[in-house]
């Protein structure tokens, strides 16, 4: 299944990245969401997927009964999901607030903080 999942990871990344480059703020956020999913699935896939090997120690035993799926990527992903959720929630609200202030969903209009002054520099010290 690695190949299929790896391709899926690639598709998720590609779609996420493409969405982020669109002009809509909402699409940007959706893209970020896809990117997060892609990263989690990447860790999961790279950590080798195994069916039927839940990393639990059965009642009455002190070690797992058989081979288990590597619990480390799972723990990492769990942390990453939660962190990603926090970040995502903040980004969603940021977009909402920004759209409210600028009255647009078009990221192309977010350039007010980066315009250069029209005149070519005052840098000669002569102005």
């Amino acid at each position: 299944m690695h190949l299929l999942l790896a391709i899926l990871v690639g598709i998720l990344y590609a779609c996420g990245l493409y969405l982020m480059m669109r002009r809509s703020m909402l699409k940007l956020v959706i893209g970020l969401g896809l990117l997060g999913h892609a990263a989690n699935l990447l860790i999961f896939t790279a950590g080798r997927v195994v069916p039927g090997a839940v990393p639990l120690i059965p009642e009455g035993m002190t070690t797992p009964s058989g081979p288990i799926a590597d619990p480390v990527p799972q723990a990492l992903i769990l942390t990453a999901i939660v962190i990603g959720f926090g970040v995502q929630a903040f980004a969603i609200l940021l977009v909402r607030r920004l759209a409210e202030r600028t009255r647009t969903d078009d990221v192309r209009e977010l350039t007010t903080t980066e315009q250069l002054e029209t005149q070519t520099g005052t840098g000669k010290g002569a102005s």
Binding site: L32, V72, V87, R97, T102, L110, T113, E114, G121, T122
Partner: protein, 498 residues
């Protein structure tokens, strides 16, 4: 040995206290200042411990490395934590006189503190995934601080800041996952002993480049720096000052760490790439600054150009060059924070940082003028200030290695930096105040002490580093020695274990 966790714990605990003290801004302020001082004391203690006792290790939860999370303080980490503590004290004091009550009510002090916890965690952790977590802590806090206040510029700048930094996080996370999948470890010391194995010889440089991009975005190297000039002039100056001093340096620290400890086998590829990037970063940054006409925007672009110097040392990869990087980081954190603080005072006085609308400050605020000159000249590398030694060491390292082109670029960039600093000086300080410019207000006594005091303190440190460069250089050299000797780090963390 719990000393190692204190630089994280103190600000974290302090920020929780401010959460409980939502109603009392006075209490929040005192917690902020007192905890910053406490962090400073602890950091200096830690630095002393590392200086005399070598690399310090804390196995969190008593789980032995590589199974638990390990905190490791080598000289570089201890230096970074100490300098962080210094500027955080300056920022705490400046906050008292410059942050409005509305922002304080919504948790300003707590966010600053938690960001410092994240920064220190990133400096001290010896675990790659844990590094990711601390990065996210400081990043999340910086997102909030960047937008705290909801001014339109903050939101716009914040959007770009958030988006591009999330790209970095996504890449970092993927890089950690891939590295774990390839090697089966997250502990940096263990990774350091694993990456050299022949079966990893091809995949490690590939993953290394992912880390270069991920940390490169955070460090604002070429061509990944866009978020910085887009956002650093939008939040209140004191927030920008803290960001300017610290945040990109966390990225540089991470680059220094992984490209000395983990990714040095194929230096011909990785480190040569870094040298090329360093040259381009220096140039694009300084040219970006030349095109700007606003104090903070000029200073923002200079951060980029100086990041170029810092990674130049890493790319050149000789003991002297790496020591130069370390020296440069220490110098730059102090000086850049200070310049942003000065910019903040100018904005407070005139209501703008645009050079067009400024003037006459040399006469109207001679003290501020003097306090601007010290960090400005230091940034431009004028002897005997701290910036000169940073530059000197890197240039010497470059010439020793016969890296003529990039050394020439470094020299040229230092001249253009001088040009930028004199531009600010000539326009804001020398030029008479233009007709129709906003009226200048004056500082209250409280503002005078809380705003100018930290600036003066940081300026004194700049002078002290310049005149007393020997101990700083000695520390930087030893830090570089430790960095270039991964065995020492591995030994300290894993002991006799494989």
């Amino acid at each position: 040995m719990n000393l190692l966790i204190l630089p994280v714990l103190i600000p974290l605990a302090a920020s929780i206290i401010t959460l409980f003290a939502r109603r009392s801004i006075a209490l929040q302020r005192s917690v902020h200042v007192v905890s910053s001082l406490a962090s400073l004391a602890v950091s200096v203690l830690l630095l002393g411990r590392v200086w005399s006792g070598g690399i310090q290790v804390l196995e969190v939860g008593s789980w032995p490395a590589p199974f638990g999370i390990t905190f490791v303080a080598d000289l570089l980490s201890a230096l970074m934590v100490s300098v962080t503590a210094v500027v955080s004290v300056a920022v705490a004091v400046t906050s008292l006189g410059s942050i409005d009550a509305a922002r304080e009510k919504f948790g300003y002090h707590g966010f600053i503190l938690v960001m410092l916890a994240g920064v220190n965690g990133a400096f001290l952790t010896g675990d790659l995934f844990n590094l990711y977590v601390w990065f996210e802590v400081l990043l999340m806090a910086s997102f909030v601080l960047m937008t705290l206040g909801n001014e339109r510029g903050q939101l716009e700048g914040g959007m770009k800041y958030v988006t591009l930094n999330l790209m970095s996080s996504a890449l970092f996370l993927a890089g950690v996952g891939l590295l774990y999948a390839a090697t089966g470890s997250l502990n940096m010391a263990e990774l350091a002993s694993l990456v050299g194995r022949p079966e990893h010889s091809a995949i490690v440089p590939v993953v290394a480049m992912m880390f270069l991009v991920a940390f490169g975005i955070k460090a604002a190297i070429f061509p990944l720096f866009f978020w910085l000039p887009a956002s650093y002039h939008t939040p209140p100056p004191v927030i920008a000052a803290l960001f300017a001093g610290l945040l990109t340096k966390v990225g540089v620290y991470a680059l220094l760490r992984v490209f000395t400890l983990l990714f040095h086998q194929e230096a011909w590829l990785t480190h040569t790439t870094i040298v090329v990037i360093a040259g381009l970063t220096m140039l694009t940054g300084v040219l970006g600054a030349a095109a700007q006409t606003d104090i903070r925007r000029i200073l923002s672009f200079h951060i980029i150009s100086q990041i170029g110097y810092m990674i130049l040392g890493l790319g050149l990869f000789s003991p002297l060059a790496v020591a130069g990087s370390v020296f440069y980081i220490v110098h730059h954190i102090i000086v850049k924070t200070n310049l942003f603080l000065v910019g903040g005072v100018v904005e407070r006085l005139h209501g703008t940082g645009s050079l067009k609308s400024l003037g006459g400050l040399y006469r109207s605020s001679p003290l501020l003028a003097g306090l601007f000159l010290i960090p400005a000249l230091s940034l431009a590398g004028v002897p005997p200030l701290s910036g000169f030694w940073s530059k000197f060491i890197l240039i010497k390292a470059g010439l020793d290695l016969e890296a003529m082109l990039v050394t020439g670029v470094a020299l040229l960039v230092s001249l253009l930096t001088l040009f930028s600093m004199t531009k600010i000086w000539a326009e804001a300080f020398w030029k008479p105040l233009p007709e129709g410019a906003p009226v200048r207000r004056s500082l209250t006594t409280w503002e005078r002490w809380t705003l100018l005091g930290p600036i003066a303190g940081l300026a004194l440190i700049t002078i002290a580093i310049g005149l007393g460069a020997e101990p700083v250089f000695a520390a930087a050299s030893r830090a570089a020695e430790q960095l270039l000797d991964p065995q020492g780090y591995i030994q300290a963390v894993l002991g006799g274990r494989p």
